[in-house]
């Protein structure tokens, strides 16, 4: 028996609030695969790239603090949100490559008895599954192959760009212009991956409040791309993309002048379905765009 995979889980805020189904399905999948997740209950919001606009140094200190708690547990931090992944990995990269900045941050952390060392890896659950658990092993565990579905992968910007930084955080190199991790996961689960232009594009989430038209057009284009590629549903590793695609179809339809709507699953829900988890365990009842095929 191999050593059990154990991670420090950084849930982020969304999984605790507007996408409860994401947290439920993360735990359901981990249980099925025998992965242990220890929740970083001390962790704060990553700043979601907006706190960074207001106060960059404060966001560094808070993200470094989050990483400290993964380090003190001696674990790799696993994220389940692309934006958490980006902001945490970016903090790690900046502190690890700039001793002066690291010292400044540690000076603040020392006031509360913490020290950022840089000893923990930070990876997204999608890459933890692929790199550490392995697609072949997942394939063996599939009980309900997703063979009757055309599935449109939606990668989400903050897992694939900037690729130089992202590829430091996981073993399987991903190209931002032709990403394949999610496609390969779909195939491993027996599904049919559909290709469409918007799969590596932006959903508009981060400009939702201040630039609603831009955000709605981007959401609309993504949904349209998946619909025109004959997808039955979309899947994404990012809860923010999920929120946008799942809940904002009316604004999106209005913005692109066409009715766009389809079920959107979290990456964990898709894996869970194939592994035989119950729909209620995966929180499929928490979607606005109804998941009508289960």
């Amino acid at each position: 028996m191999e050593k059990k995979l154990t991670y420090a889980l950084f849930t982020g805020c969304t999984a605790k609030e507007s996408t409860p189904e994401q947290l439920m399905s993360t735990y359901a999948v981990a249980k099925k695969l025998g992965i242990e997740l220890v929740e970083l209950s001390e962790a704060t919001c990553c700043g979601a790239s907006h706190l960074q606009d207001y106060d960059d140094f404060l966001s560094l200190v808070l993200n470094a603090r989050n990483i400290c708690y993964a380090e003190s547990r001696g674990m790799t931090m696993v994220t389940i949100c692309n934006t958490c992944q980006l902001n945490t990995a970016m903090t790690k990269h900046r502190l690890d490559s700039d001793p002066e900045l690291k010292a400044r941050v540690n000076e603040k952390l020392a006031e509360v008895g913490l020290e950022y060392k840089g000893t923990s890896k930070i990876t997204h659950f999608l890459y933890a599954l692929i790199d550490d658990f392995g697609l072949e092993t997942i394939k063996e565990k599939v009980v309900t192959p997703l063979s009757q579905f055309n599935i449109a992968p939606f990668y989400g910007c903050h897992n694939i760009r900037p690729s130089e930084l992202q590829n430091e955080t996981h073993d399987s190199a991903e190209n931002a212009y032709n990403p394949n991790s999610l496609d390969e996961l779909i195939i491993a689960l027996g599904g049919v991956n559909v290709d469409y232009e918007e799969k590596n594009k932006c959903c508009g989430f981060h400009a939702e409040l201040q630039a609603p038209h831009t955000a709605a057009v981007l959401t609309g284009k993504a949904l349209m791309g998946a619909m025109d590629a004959n997808a039955d549903w979309m899947v994404t590793p990012c809860p923010l993309c999920h929120l946008k695609l799942d809940t904002q179809y009316e604004h999106a339809s209005h913005a692109v002048g066409r009715d766009v709507k389809m079920p959107v699953l979290h990456m964990q829900q898709m894996v869970g379905l194939a592994l035989g988890c119950a729909p209620s365990e995966l929180g499929l009842q928490h979607h606005v765009s109804k998941v009508n095929f289960v």
């Binding site: 805020c13 606009d53 207001y54 960059d56 200190v61 981060h206």
Partner: protein, 326 residues
């Protein structure tokens, strides 16, 4: 020495002449491509060997003039720098050659870059310096001060980031990543006195930095590693540091994160929307979606708002590490 290999590649070449064609079309061209070639070699061979009317821009041939930027399978490239072998490895043996922006195509790969230059000019891309008419000493810039430009002066104005930016495609007002990076280049220059003037330009709703969707396409595509989104973040910071922030939905949205983290550690999503928009606009703009979300259990009530453990620690850090006020 590595051996030169050859592969047969099918190119779908975008063709359009705005003077004679109603619509663009794609011409299939099959070619033997060697591992030594770059995209510009292919453009040349299409013109020389296939169709002399094929048009594209090129000049320096070594990645400094920025003229030959095009898109291959949607990826923005400098044609003279991009190795064919890398593209074949990434996309396979069928490649689509397109201009940077299809809606701005004039002839084949040539686009009208007017909007790029108009926006470039809009941010006042020059030193604004209140210097003595008869200075008595030179205006020296130390190496450390030059470093502070963070390579923003490496921009060659190729337009790759501008025409890879999804917001540019949707919002005609948006100034765009290239011009923002240029604004930073002068704002960060110790000899410059125009920072507040420039910040007011890039702070404007719809045109300014707040409409950036943070997709990182600009950072990914830049052939000179200027990293425009890093500069966009710095401009956001400068707006607050220089007290130029306008009290609007965009700035409140950024500031709201600090409030929420101080109170809960985590972000109070509903409260962030209320804080950013104001109560009434929130209900009007987001009420319908909010209600749909509430019905399926996606809204956490204030009394159930989760909190981070060791919140005292978070509060202490926010107190000691905050660097700006709004």
């Amino acid at each position: 020495m590595t051996t030169i290999t050859t592969q047969t590649i099918t190119f779908n070449v975008f063709r359009f002449n705005s003077e004679t064609d109603y619509l663009p079309y794609y011409k299939k061209v099959e070619m033997e491509v060697t591992s030594e070639e770059v995209v510009l070699d292919i453009l040349n061979r299409i013109k020389w060997e296939v169709d002399g009317s094929f048009s594209y821009r090129r000049s320096c041939r070594h990645g400094i003039c920025g003229a030959c930027a095009i898109k291959v399978n949607g990826k923005g490239v400098l044609a003279c720098k991009e190795r064919m072998n890398d593209l074949i490895e990434l996309f396979g043996t069928e490649l689509t050659l397109e201009p940077l922006s299809i809606k701005r195509a004039v002839k084949d790969m040539i686009i009208d870059k007017e909007d790029f230059w108009v926006k470039h000019e809009a941010i006042e891309p020059y030193l604004i310096s209140h210097i003595e008419e008869h200075p008595e000493m030179e205006c020296a810039v130390t190496p450390a001060q030059a470093e502070a430009l963070l390579d923003s002066d490496y921009c060659i104005q190729c337009g790759l980031c501008h025409y890879s930016c999804p917001v540019i495609e949707i919002n005609d007002d948006f100034i765009g990543p290239a011009a923002f990076a240029k604004a930073y280049r002068f704002n960060a220059d110790v000899r410059d006195d125009g920072i507040d003037e420039r910040l007011d330009i890039i702070n404007a709703p719809s045109a300014g930095v707040w409409d950036c969707v943070k997709c990182f396409e600009c950072a990914e595509v830049c052939p000179k590693e200027v990293n425009p989104i890093e500069k966009i973040t710095k401009l956001h910071n400068q707006i607050f540091e220089h007290g130029r922030a306008i009290n609007n939905v965009a700035t409140r949205h950024a500031v709201g994160f600090a409030h929420s983290i101080k109170k809960h550690g985590l972000l109070d999503e509903a409260e962030l929307v209320r804080y950013s928009e104001g109560t009434l606009p929130m209900l009007m703009k987001h009420g319908k979606v909010g209600f749909k979300m509430f019905k399926v259990g996606k809204v956490v009530m204030p009394w159930n708002m989760p909190k981070s453990d060791k919140l005292d620690e978070v509060k202490a850090l926010i107190k000691s590490s905050s660097t700006v006020k709004f």
